[in-house]
Amino acid sequence: MNTLLTLWSDNTALSAAVWLLLGMTLLYAGRQPAHRILLSVGHGLRHTLRMASRALSQLEHQLTARNREVLLAAARNDAERRIEREFTRIQALVARDLSGYPALHRQIGESIERIETSYRDSSESAPLPPAWGDVVNTIAALPSHGDPAVARILSNIQDAVQDTHKETLKAWQSSADKRHKLLAQMQPEWRTLNSKADDVGRTLEALDARTHQLDKQMQHYEDIRRGEDAAVRSLTSSSLTQFFIAGLVLTIALLGGLINFQLIAMPMSEMVGGTSYIGAVKTSDIAAMVIILIEIAMGLFLLESLRITRLFPIISSMDDKMRRRMMIISLTILCILAGIEASLAYMRDLLALDKEALQQSLMMSTGAGVAASHAEFRWIPSLGQMIMGFILPFALAFIAIPLESFIHSLRTVLGLLLVAVLRTLAIVSRLSGNLLAQTSVMLTHAYDLLIMLPLSIERLLRRKAVAQQQTTDEIAALIPDVEAEPALEAPRKSRRSKRSATDNSNDTSTTDDSSALAV
């Protein structure tokens, strides 16, 4: 390096100056090609990145369309499921309530018949007692003229009439009583009729509500089928909400699984040994983990066979008998595992107690012992651990529901993320292209800055040449004979024109540069 630095002179500064001049001259000589290279590289990169940006934008559009299709398809399936469920409910309602309608109709008919009979019976009333009082009064008012026989006859007639009147009145009263009784018997029939009518009304109202619900679902389904933007926006928002809620629940479930793992990992070493390892992990830990995973799997199968989740189409499409069997088997295995966990939790407590006792005995012998804990309350944590060990597997079994939501919404969320990434990449690519083009222009200027000395000299010389040219032209204009010798002037002119053309080309290149700068 030093040799190179002192190549021209022993004086480093002088040698450096020579190098500088040499370099400057070389750079000046290569100015045009260097500018072209820089500008073409910048332009090429810009073009390439613009193309990449366009390709990414197209990909983004395709992905957006695909996401939309997937979202609509998922929503369509969901809506179909809901509608199917609504139909099932309506069917159940009809089967439960309206299947008894013929019987109800018969009951109402019988009630009406009974009411009619009772009404008819009550209408057959006994004749009202005639005006017996007038007859008695008339007979009583008849003059007897002191004849005892006539008086006796009249008295007898009066008695007979009075007796008859009493009997007739009695019969009429009895008939009225009977009618009242018949009318009283009609009252419960009326009430029954009223109650039955109310029942029918309620059933029809429920059916009406269901059909309204069904109408809404159908409307929603129609919106989805039409692929309306509002429906897509609503579905996207719903998917994001689902994703976060399901994620939260899964996190809680994960923590539950962690506690479960802690509960059974230690006692597992009592069953499978605490010294063997598979890889870097204890076999007992793996066994505990496997039990938890089996519980989750059983929970998945159970909820799947109950048709609460639909992660495995093969289970959903099984016939009811097989599904019921699967449900029973899953539930049984889950219960057995829960029992095992409860016993393991109890064993954990026993082991912890044993270890604590050993530690205490070891510490006591060194004089650092502590007072024994209250043994009478020891059953509380034991019981708590056992209950936890039994309940946690069932709680973990329900992980299938948030898991299904998470998986379904994950597709949408990943699609959205990918679209966002593609969009960002497209923007970054376009910006980078522009930036690189600008950088290439800036580099040409930086290049010129390095050779500003020769460039300044060139500019000065050119200005002088132009000034000289102008002076020559002016003088030529003043001498008229000069125009008479075009043959002599022509080569000079051509030379000048060549020079001016060169100058122009230089100017043009500068203009090109300027135009490039403007770009």
């Binding site: 802690q262 070493s269 870097a280 082991l351 050993l358 530690q359 012998s365």
Partner: protein
């Protein structure tokens, strides 16, 4: 290992197995051989040795091995082993073994009336290396509870290199002798001499005199 990390590690096990090509894992168990000096006045320090043993029993786990031997006039002998065991894979059984081990040590301490005439530390270390190598443990420790002043019978030969490959040798409670107080260089030379022998044999040497810092004694999982 933290529970979450353990859970993740367990879940990632199949992948790790695939990547590692199911290679045979290195043993993770420990083997500890505690040598207790029973010569002369050092028997008075026996209660400290019991504290060390209790610490070891509390921290060793299933699959680990432990042996306690005394240093007397000729320590290169199985007869000097007071108790030895390898803890069972089941924690409950291991706890019972620990209780029995402690009982054996307590009995020994109660029955020890007087110390031995000579101190054969090298013989004890040789015996320890044999035992430890037989266990095939991943981590091997020789704990020497002694003042490190070797006093061999006349006919015993012990001045040869000892092979202590991959064995951690820890000198515990290295008490100062009366002569050390006169010239402390004796004490330092004694320690240097042992360190030199252990390191030359391929072992690792440490001294712990403050028994309050026993947590550094063995690496606890």
């Amino acid at each position: 290992m933290k529970p979450l990390a353990k859970l993740i590690a367990t879940a990632a096990l199949p992948l790790s197995l695939l990547l590692s090509g199911c290679s045979e894992p290195a043993p993770k168990n420990k083997a500890v051989y505690l040598l207790i000096d029973t010569s002369g006045t050092y028997t008075q320090e026996l209660n400290k040795a019991q504290a060390i043993l209790n610490y070891l029993l509390a921290n060793l786990d299933s699959g680990d091995s432990i042996a306690v031997a005394r240093i007397d006039s000729g320590s290169f002998s199985e007869k000097d082993i007071i108790a030895k065991t390898t803890f069972d894979v089941r924690p409950s059984t291991a706890n019972d073994q620990k209780r029995q081990f402690k009982l054996a040590m307590d009995t020994f301490a109660d029955n020890l009336k007087h110390g031995s005439a000579n101190t054969d530390i090298t013989g004890g270390v040789l015996q320890a290396t044999q035992y430890l190598n037989e266990t095939g443990a991943g981590e091997k420790y020789v704990l020497i509870f002694s003042d490190l002043e070797e006093d061999l019978p006349d006919d015993h030969v012990r001045d040869f290199p000892i092979s202590l490959d991959n064995i951690h040798v820890v000198a515990l409670n290295v008490t100062k002798l009366r002569s050390d107080n006169i010239d402390p260089r004796d004490y330092l030379n004694r320690l240097d001499n042992w360190q030199h022998r252990v390191v030359e044999g391929g072992g690792d040497w440490r001294v712990i005199n403050d028994l309050e810092r026993m947590e550094r004694l063995i690496a606890v999982n």
